[in-house]
C-alpha cells in the first residue's frame, strides 16, 4: 500500500546547479528581448484586449505567447503568467483578464506557435537529448518561461511588484523553476499536480505518460540510466524548490497516475517559502478541478490584488 505523504523521493543536487542556470540566464541576457505585440481585434472582446506576443529567448529563438489586458480598470495591472501543460497548447487567457489581470499565456519552444526551430514533438520533449543537460530539450523551454516574465517587467501596463505564476502539471512544475530563477520578481505561485518533480522516481510509480516516456527511453537505452539521472537533476523541481521565495499554493490529487502524489508531497517538503498544500482524495491529475480553481483565484487575488 502506498503512503505518498511519507514516501522518500530523493534527487541529488548537482554541484554546479546554480552556475548551470546562471549560464542559461546569461545566454538569454545576451539577446535583446525585442518584444513585439500585435493587437488582435478579432479575438478581443468588450472586456479584454488580446495581443499576439513574440519575444527572443535562450539561443536567440523567437517565442510566442498570448497577452491579454482588461479594457477597463486601474492600470498598471497585476500580472499573471499562465504556463501550459505537457500536451496542451496555451489558450488565450481572457478569463484572467476578466478578473483584472494582465495575463501572458506563454508557448515555450516546441509548442505549435514556437516550433519553427525546435520541435521535438509530443511525445518526445521529455526525453529529447535527455542524456545531456546542456542540450536537453527542456533547457530552453524552462528559460522561455523565465523570459516571458521579463516581458512583463518591460510592460508599462504591468505593476512589476505584482507578478504571479499559475499552471498545472507541467505548468505547475515550471512555476516552481521560474519562481526559483526569479526570486526577487515573483510574488506568488499556484502550482497544481506539479510535474518534473522527482523525475527519476515518478516513472517507477506510474505507467502513465509523460513519465512513461522515460521508461520507454530506458527500455531501449538501459545503459543510459546514470546519465539520464545526472541530466534531469538539473531540471528537477525538488532542486529548485528551496530557492523559491514567493508564497506558493500547491494542490495534489491523491490518486494522480500522471504526477504521482509522492512527488507533490516531496515538493511541498522541499519548499522553504510560505506554502500551502491541499490534497484531494479520489482525485487524479485534475487534482481537485474544477472546484480548486476558486481557491486558486482567491490565493492569487490575495497576493496580487487585482482591481486595486
Amino acid at each position: 500500500m502506498r503512503d505518498p505523504e511519507n514516501a522518500t523521493v530523493e534527487v541529488e543536487l548537482p554541484d554546479d546547479f546554480d552556475d548551470f542556470w546562471a549560464a542559461g540566464l546569461a545566454d538569454c541576457a545576451s539577446y535583446p528581448l525585442d518584444p513585439v505585440l500585435t493587437e488582435m481585434p478579432a479575438l478581443s472582446t468588450d472586456k479584454v484586449i488580446v495581443y499576439d506576443l513574440r519575444y527572443t529567448s535562450y539561443g536567440g529563438l523567437r517565442i510566442a505567447g498570448w497577452y491579454t489586458v482588461p479594457r477597463e480598470g486601474p492600470a498598471p495591472y497585476p500580472a499573471l503568467v499562465t504556463i501550459p501543460g505537457y500536451i496542451s497548447e496555451p489558450t488565450i487567457p481572457k478569463e484572467w483578464s476578466e478578473l483584472g489581470y494582465a495575463a501572458l499565456a506563454v508557448a515555450p519552444r516546441g509548442k505549435l506557435r514556437s516550433n519553427d526551430v525546435f520541435n521535438p514533438g509530443y511525445p518526445g520533449l521529455l526525453t529529447h537529448n535527455i542524456v545531456d543537460p546542456n542540450t536537453y530539450g527542456y533547457r530552453g523551454f524552462y528559460l522561455d518561461v523565465v523570459r516571458s516574465v521579463e516581458v512583463l517587467l518591460d510592460r508599462p501596463d504591468v505593476d512589476n511588484l505584482r507578478i504571479g505564476l499559475q499552471g498545472s502539471s507541467q505548468g505547475g512544475g515550471l512555476g516552481i523553476s521560474t519562481a526559483a530563477l526569479l526570486p526577487d520578481v515573483i510574488r506568488c505561485v499556484a502550482a497544481g499536480a506539479p510535474y518534473l518533480c522527482g523525475i527519476m522516481t515518478a516513472p517507477t510509480l506510474t505507467r502513465s505518460y509523460p513519465y512513461e516516456e522515460i521508461n520507454e527511453y530506458l527500455r531501449i537505452h538501459p545503459k543510459d540510466v546514470d546519465r539520464v539521472r545526472e541530466s534531469v537533476a538539473y531540471y528537477d523541481g525538488l532542486n529548485f524548490a528551496p530557492k523559491v521565495q514567493a508564497p506558493t499554493f500547491l494542490y495534489v490529487g491523491l490518486e494522480d497516475d500522471v504526477c504521482p502524489p509522492e512527488t507533490g508531497f516531496a515538493l511541498h517538503r522541499a519548499l522553504a517559502c510560505e506554502k500551502t498544500l491541499r490534497t484531494y482524495p479520489h482525485c487524479a491529475h485534475h487534482a481537485g478541478l474544477p472546484d480548486v480553481m476558486r481557491i486558486v483565484e482567491d490565493f492569487l487575488a490575495e497576493h496580487l490584488t487585482p482591481g486595486r
Binding site: 479575438l43 472582446t45 481572457k94 514533438g121 506510474t206 512513461e212 527500455r219 491523491l254 484531494y280
Partner: protein, 281 residues
C-alpha cells in the same frame, strides 16, 4: 444539403479512396504484453493521417478499442493498461501532431476553420478520418468483431453511428452538443472560438447550420452499441441521453480518480476483460 445526404457524400468519398495502411513496429513501446505500431493511412482529401496501434501478444482475437481524437494538438498514447487488454487504436486526425504534413491545425482556430460552409468545414474531413480509422480497426484479423468499443467525444458518437460494429460506446465529453448555447457559458476555449467567429461577422445562422451536422444528438439515434454517457449536468444532457437507443448516464463526480476508474470498469465489463486502475495502489 440535408443531414443524410451530407454524410452519405462523406461515405462515398471514403469508399473510393484506398486506405493503403502502413504499420511500423515501435520497439520502445513494445513490451511482453503487446506489440506497438505506428499507423499511417489515407483518408479523404486524400490525406495521410496517423494512428497509434497496439495489439496484445498471445492468441486472439482480442476485444478492441478505438479512441477518437480529442480537441487539441496532441492525443495521449494509449495507456499500457489498455494495451494489455485491447487491440487499441488512437487516431491523430488531420492537422494534429504526427498528422500534420501539409496541414498543421491552429489552436485556437481549428473549431471554426471553414465553418461558414458545411461543405468546407474542417470537421467534415476530421470525421472522415475517424470513419477511416474505424474501418481499419474493424477489419483487423486480431479483433474480435463481437467486442469492439469506441471512446471519445462527439466524434465517437458520429463514428459509431455511421460504422456498424461497435458493441460499446463510451462518451466521456461532448464538444458540439448544444455548442451554440454552450458558448455563452464562459470565455474559455475552444467554444470561445465560436464567439470570436460571431464577433468577426459570421452569422449565427451559418454557425448553427454547420454545427448541427456534427451535434451528437443528431447522430445518437443511429448508434447501435450499448452506450455510456458521462454527464455533468443531467438537465443539460437530457436530450442527448434520450436520443440514444440504449444509453445509460454516469454522473461525473469531479473526483477524477473515481470517474476514471468507473469509466474503465464499464468498458472492461462490456468487453469481458478485467478492470484496471491507472493509479497503481
Amino acid at each position: 444539403m440535408n443531414f443524410d445526404s451530407y454524410w452519405a457524400a462523406v461515405d462515398d468519398e471514403l469508399a473510393v479512396i484506398p486506405g493503403r495502411p502502413v504499420l511500423d513496429i515501435v520497439p520502445a513501446r513494445t513490451t511482453e504484453e503487446a506489440t506497438f505500431y505506428s499507423l499511417r493511412i489515407t483518408s479523404t482529401g486524400p490525406y495521410r493521417v496517423y494512428g497509434n496501434l497496439s495489439i496484445p501478444k498471445g492468441d486472439g482475437p482480442f476485444p478492441a478499442l478505438l479512441i477518437t481524437p480529442r480537441y487539441g494538438s496532441v492525443n495521449n498514447i494509449p495507456h499500457p493498461n489498455d494495451r494489455s487488454r485491447y487491440v487499441v487504436l488512437s487516431l491523430m486526425h488531420r492537422g494534429q501532431r504526427l498528422a500534420d504534413e501539409g496541414f498543421a491545425a491552429a489552436y485556437p482556430g481549428l473549431l471554426t476553420m471553414g465553418i461558414d460552409d458545411p461543405a468546407t468545414y474542417i470537421y467534415r474531413g476530421i470525421a472522415a478520418d475517424c470513419l477511416r480509422a474505424a474501418e481499419f480497426l474493424l477489419g483487423l484479423a486480431e479483433v474480435d468483431p463481437a467486442r469492439v468499443a469506441i471512446s471519445g467525444d462527439d466524434l465517437a458518437v458520429l463514428t459509431a453511428a455511421r460504422r456498424p460494429g461497435f458493441s460499446a460506446v463510451r462518451v466521456t465529453d461532448v464538444l458540439f452538443y448544444r455548442a451554440i448555447e454552450a458558448r455563452l457559458k464562459s470565455s474559455l476555449y475552444p467554444l470561445e472560438e465560436l464567439n470570436d467567429c460571431l464577433r468577426a461577422g459570421l452569422s449565427a445562422d451559418a454557425l448553427s447550420t454547420t454545427l448541427s451536422y456534427f451535434d451528437a444528438v443528431r447522430h445518437a439515434p443511429a448508434v447501435a452499441g450499448r452506450t455510456l454517457l458521462a454527464v455533468d449536468d443531467p438537465d443539460w444532457s437530457a436530450s442527448l441521453l434520450a436520443a440514444f437507443p440504449t444509453a445509460e448516464a454516469y454522473q461525473v463526480t469531479h473526483l477524477d480518480g473515481t470517474d476514471n476508474d468507473f469509466l474503465d470498469a464499464w468498458l472492461a465489463e462490456q468487453s469481458g476483460v478485467p478492470a484496471l486502475s491507472k493509479f497503481i495502489a
